[in-house]
């Protein structure tokens, strides 16, 4: 054992109530899901000021999966590998491919859905994917009565992508709608985990009816600096008529970049350029799909 290092106390609650009670008693302790993000941070070990740990591994309720005709409800301790295994049967090919592309199976076996959504200031592919699908999450507030609150996933983060409820709530369930729209696009450029300042993650789902994009839902994520999902921009997409001219594509793309700049002051020029090119290519694809009938 290294000198001066203290071994953090590990709590192993068996129910959600016990985990909330443990957090109330030890406000400095952190919830521990898969641990892939926490342990991959530089300086995790050895660290003299390591916080105590509330391990969520033993809570059976958090590993349950419930499936109905309209949605899949997964506990926050379900691993991304389990989600992709189910996804083979329940989700579209595009969505399942996007989940598989989050990482190799070595990472997917360990990383959990809840852990991926609750990292403090980094947003990864899964946030973008689930936000695009308009998934809902259940939070248990860290108070004596521990009330449960359902909310859209977008409400968990501010525009910079910082998790708002850190230390205030425990994410217990995620409800993913399975009634998806006609088209889904999920793209990721760069390495979100290794080089977050260069990576861009993008998701869009929509339907095409006659010459209009119907009910679009778009999400753009810069892992360390921006979580962008705007009703106004979705409305703009819904208002355009197909087919698009190249001028129109450029115009919408410029509008997106200016909104991303407003949303995040720390976005790098490379990320903005990538976001712009990615969005243009997706609009061109929509055009092609429409023209091909």
């Amino acid at each position: 054992m290294q000198e001066g290092l203290r071994s953090p106390t590990v709590f192993n609650p068996k129910t959600i109530g016990e985990s909330v009670a443990a957090k109330l008693k030890n406000p400095n302790a952190c919830f521990w899901a898969g641990g892939t993000f926490i342990m991959s941070r530089p300086g995790f070990y050895p660290n003299p000021s390591q916080r105590d740990i509330i391990s969520l591994k033993g809570i059976v309720d958090l590993s349950k999966v419930y499936h109905s005709d309209r949605f899949v409800e997964v506990g926050s301790m379900v691993t991304i590998q389990q989600l992709s295994n189910m996804g083979g049967y329940l989700f579209s090919h595009e969505l399942n491919d996007a989940i598989l592309s989050i990482g190799s199976s070595v990472i997917r076996n360990q990383a959990t859905v809840g852990g991926a959504l609750c990292t403090s200031n980094m947003r990864f592919s899964l946030c973008c994917i689930l936000a695009t699908l308009n998934a809902q999450v259940e939070l248990r507030m860290i108070t004596k009565s521990a009330p449960a609150r359902w909310m859209p996933i977008t409400k968990l983060y501010d525009r910079k992508g910082v998790f708002i409820y850190e230390g205030e709530a425990l994410l217990t369930k995620v409800r993913i709608p399975t009634e998806n729209k006609q088209f889904q696009v999920f793209r990721s450029i760069g390495l979100p985990m290794q080089k977050p300042e260069e990576a861009v993650v993008f998701g869009l789902q929509y339907s095409i009816n006659q010459a209009n994009i119907m009910l679009p839902s778009m999400c753009m994520v810069f892992p360390s600096s921006c979580f962008y999902m705007s009703q106004d921009f979705d409305n703009l997409l819904a208002s355009i008529n197909l087919p698009l001219t190249s001028d129109k594509i450029m115009k919408i793309s410029k509008r997106l970049v200016s909104e991303l700049k407003n949303a995040s002051l720390n976005a790098s020029a490379l990320q903005l350029e990538r976001a712009s090119r990615l969005f243009e290519s997706v609009l061109s694809e929509i055009n092609t799909t429409f023209l091909a009938g």
Partner: protein, 201 residues
Amino acid sequence: MRLNCNVNGNQLSLVVNSDKPLSNILKDVVDSFPDNNQCLGASCGNCVVLLNGVATLSCLVPAFSLNGSSILTFDGFRKTRFYHDIERAYNDVGNQPCPQCYASKTLLIESLLIRMDKESQSRKDVVNLGRSMGFSPIPTASQGYANEMAARGRLGGGSVDPQVLSQEFSMCRCQCIELSELEKIVNLAYKYRSRRRARRT
């Protein structure tokens, strides 16, 4: 905290910090555990071990989650008969990973073979279940299942999908061995293993 676990077949009882990563524990316990995993959590893949039969990055596993688990490092794995299937496949293809990533890539291949086995077994279970229930068009159904799996980029039919392979090895940045060669190696190793199992049964 006191940690009881099995490392390469040896039952160990250690006193360690609860947040100490498995890779650091193994460096103390297993003499030949690679010391080249200095990626600081960037998932370089050099510290892969089989934790309860599943390939895991040991730098991402804390001590407190290890009680009662079974850990197999490359050192332990190379003494098993399963290693020889992969070694034979390396020889047949005429290439093998560089010494730097030999251990990690071999364990990743082993984990892939275990997954292929499971997928194949679950396909057989579907067929057997159908037979036991008296359904006649089972071959068609199982073929449909196999096609579905293949279409969804999974493992099926005794050969590995290149897309799955590129995802599995995406964390290894060392380009010492090409993906097409890795595909041949995995398929050959799987074939040797299946033959060995058939002989034993």
